[in-house]
Amino acid sequence: MSNKIDPLGEAGLQFYSKVSASISHEIKNSLAVLNESAGYLEDVTLMAKKGMDVNMERLESLAVTMLKQVQRTNGIVKNMNRLAHSLDDPASQIDLNPLLELMISLSERTTVTRGFKVSAVFSDAAITITTHPFFLENLIWLILDFAMTVTGDAKTIAMIPAKTESGAEINFTGLEKLTGKSFNDFQTERVRLMLAALNCKLQPNENKGILTIHLPKNINQPEK
């Protein structure tokens, strides 16, 4: 039996672990707000029992806060569930618009903590391809991590999906410090394996500060 760790599997686990850590952090933050809100309700209930006045407006705003936190946590868990289910099938038909929306949500804590703003310019129409969603999400995660090292002073990255003749592309813009060397350094074994698994290509444009993923319409039919 070989001791060599499968680089693609390792990359996938690392990605999943990082997202899980980030999500658990977000859930803990939300629980902390709910905990303080419930604690405050307990405090004012005790005060009311002692005949002290209760600020009803404050209670109303607290209820709104608690509902917002429940919605926030529900959104976080839904995203985690979507990521988990992206491993269900080796290839499935997906729309790039919601996939990019999911990636913005999943990476938000990491990007915001590092002072970056990641957005997407969504297409009005669906951009449908057949691919392995988990590998694509993993590749986008790795590209965002790399992109944060080569953006300009604005620290903003925009992901722009588009249909192409052979399938689709995702353009990562705002990479003003992108160079041939940084791009070569980014293409580690795991990135190369991921590109191969997705039958896709990465194309840098140093002059425009854009990195493009070219994706085939169908993962089983490589882009020509």
Binding site: A21, K28, L31, A32, E36, Y40, M47, T113
Partner: protein, 117 residues
């Protein structure tokens, strides 16, 4: 006792300050390192409660900035982040390192203990 609470979760930090106030402990609160730097220029604090993970400037970096202005200030770290590495490093740097969600009685005990150190 002068307390400053710094956490980017506004609803958490504001409600925590209210609950401390109900227990006779007045605390100012801000939601960013930038605002913390501003407020410490105008007021003295004995203890600061810092969220470890905040956008741009986190609690551990902010602690160093605050200590330059207010040497001897006591620090309690707060975090929702459970990494062992962070816990080890944070525990060594601050008086206490607490995980969210927190118990207010426990927090007040830790605040009092930290101020005695």
């Amino acid at each position: 006792m002068q307390l400053l609470l710094v956490d980017d979760e506004k609803e958490f930090v504001a409600t925590l300050a209210e609950r401390l106030s109900l227990r006779g402990i007045e605390a100012d609160w801000v939601t960013s390192a930038k605002d913390a730097e501003k407020i410490i220029k105008t007021k003295h604090y004995d203890l600061v409660l810092l969220d470890v993970k905040m956008p741009q400037v986190g609690g551990r970096e902010l602690k160093k900035i605050i200590e330059k202005k207010l040497p001897g200030i006591k620090t309690i770290y707060l975090t929702g982040h459970g990494s062992e590495e962070d816990y080890q490093a944070g525990s060594a740097e601050a008086e206490y390192y607490l995980m969210k969600p927190i118990n207010i009685t426990d927090l007040i005990e830790k605040i009092n203990d930290a101020l005695k150190k």
